[in-house]
Amino acid sequence: MKTFYLLLLCICCRVAVTAHTVQVNFTPVFGSQILKPGQTHYHTSTADSIRIEVCRFYISHIKFMHDKNVVFDAAAQVYLIDMADTVSQQLQFTLPDGVNWNAISFCLGTDSATNVSGALGGSLDPANGMYWAWQSGYINFKLEGSSPRCTARKHEFQFHLGGYASPFATLQQIRLDCVQSSNINVVCDTAKFFDYTDVKTTAAIMSPGARAVELSVAAAGLFAVKP
């Protein structure tokens, strides 16, 4: 009987815990400008104009952290963030009240288990254009556009970064410190991407390999919390 009351107490406590919503916005930007399809941006370090047509990426394994501890794990969902779809950029989480956190942690890309699980649905449906047909696996980060500096056909560049198998695994773990709030703004600054690679020499990465790994590490560095 004692156990029963204890159990009842636990259930009551559990019900009594109220929750609140935390929205995490992932906004693709170019420097200080919000990315919009077809807009031309000026890249200072190469003195070049860059037009971004496509910027899409997967965000997974989102966790709210307090110092080194995970205090809330929202890992189940994989989000496809698309510069052309503002709704896709607004991720909402229901956190129990009283949880203290000072960082968020997430992965850029899809994990290897996801990559070997066959045909998946929702954000992971291969029809979303983020899946490689010829060599199985998700494209974790896709950036396409054009620049006069790029010598490829029509001055177009295409970076499709992905690959899950060792030694060319591209999944990136990112941790960003932040001040606890119901609204967190994370930017993905694509301008920085062109500090790491020159479209004049490399206009396309479309398959897993050493370059895809290097540029994925660079892509992870594009993310920052905007106060």
């Binding site: 990559n115 066959g118 047909a133």
Partner: protein, 350 residues
């Protein structure tokens, strides 16, 4: 009384649970456990039928001209007879021999180089390849939505008529998972229902000595990749697995194919260079070109007398499964396609 009713009731629930929990096809007794996880995509006859319709429908290609079955014909063990390299839209010729499709639930990776890691996503490769079907998954979905028959086929298969990329792929998998070949004479012998002729028996002994390491029974493949000493065709320069893993140890390695129904899956090898079984045997006895990735088994040529080659061939012919090759459940689904007026695009190519 109450207790026994409860127990009986519970037992009933358990039995019912097991009865409905039959996600995969019956596994032949002498086969190992399937690799495919049927719990994630439990077979339903309606979904299998949808997959069969998709498999035979040229709507999957950009010009509505080529279906999966164009290069995977049932009477050839779902390989492509007489065509060394796969054919595609607008008379394109690909770079590899269309492989035979059977016992796919036991296959760990797909394509000659293992580039595809799961049966569900295999179809994406031929659908989108510019020299095969040249379509996009979204293009296929659009055409399926516009067709007369497919929304109801998807409804029957999935409980609502939404057509998604995932559902197209899962249905294609379901049909292909039913393509099980386990009724060859070899299988009857294993089941104790038939006996080999003396010649077949001699051939079986030779097979076990010379071939079974790679073409391991009862699947007649280990599913691994290997070099078999074929010189590179310089018009193709296909290095197989090496191009996927970027490892020199994988250069010139190709998937070991099953030998089941080999009588009908000609031409042979990844580039279809051999049209007859005798050429294949001659390659292993006198055609192997040394290569750093040649496996130990092939370091020394296989020695077979002309009589032994005949015996070995006699055994290989016991892997022909007529029930599989002529199973009406795998054939062109006339009854599905005649149910509704086809959309004109796919009708024109029938």
């Amino acid at each position: 009384m109450r207790k026994s009713t409860l127990i009986l009731g519970l037992l009933g629930v358990v039995i019912l649970a097991f009865r409905s929990w039959n996600p995969g096809p019956a596994t032949p007794a002498h086969f190992p456990k399937p690799v495919y996880d049927f719990a994630r995509n439990p077979l339903r006859s309606e979904t299998v039928q949808l997959g069969r319709a998709l498999f035979y429908d040229p709507l999957l290609s950009v010009n509505n001209g080529i279906s999966c079955a164009s290069c995977h014909s049932q009477y050839n063990g779902f390989a492509h007879a007489d065509h060394a390299l796969s054919h595609g839209i607008f008379d394109s010729i690909g770079t590899r021999n269309a492989p035979a499709l059977m016992n796919l639930a036991w296959q760990k990776s797909f394509m000659w180089d293992g580039a595809v890691n799961h049966l569900d996503v295999q179809a994406l490769a031929p659908i989108t390849h510019p020299k095969e079907m040249g379509e996009t998954l979204n293009g296929v979905i659009k055409k399926l939505n516009a067709s007369v028959i497919y929304p109801s086929l998807f409804y029957n298969a999935f409980g609502d008529s939404a057509i998604t990329g995932q559902r197209v792929l899962l249905a294609l998998s379901q049909f292909q998972l039913t393509l099980i070949s386990a009724n060859a004479k070899y299988d009857s012998v294993k089941a104790g229902k038939a006996v080999f002729t003396p010649q077949q028996q001699r051939g079986y002994a030779l097979f076990k000595t010379h071939c079974n390491t790679c073409h391991r029974e009862p699947m007649f493949t280990t599913g691994a990749f290997s070099s078999n000493g074929l010189p590179v065709d310089t018009t193709l320069n296909d290095y197989g697995r090496g191009a996927i893993t970027h490892r020199s140890a994988d250069s010139l390695l190709f998937k070991i194919p099953t030998l089941r129904n080999i009588e009908f899956t000609y031409p042979y090898m990844h580039d279809g260079r051999f049209t007859r079984l005798s050429q294949v045997l001659n390659h292993y006895t006198s055609g192997i070109v040394p290569h750093k990735n040649l496996p130990a088994e092939l370091q020394k040529p296989i020695s077979l007398s002309p009589e032994e080659k005949v015996d070995l061939t006699a055994f290989l012919l016991t892997l022909t499964d007529k029930k599989f090759l002529y199973n009406p459940a795998y054939s062109y689904p006339k009854e599905i396609f005649s149910r509704g007026r086809r959309n004109p695009a796919s009708l024109s190519s029938q």
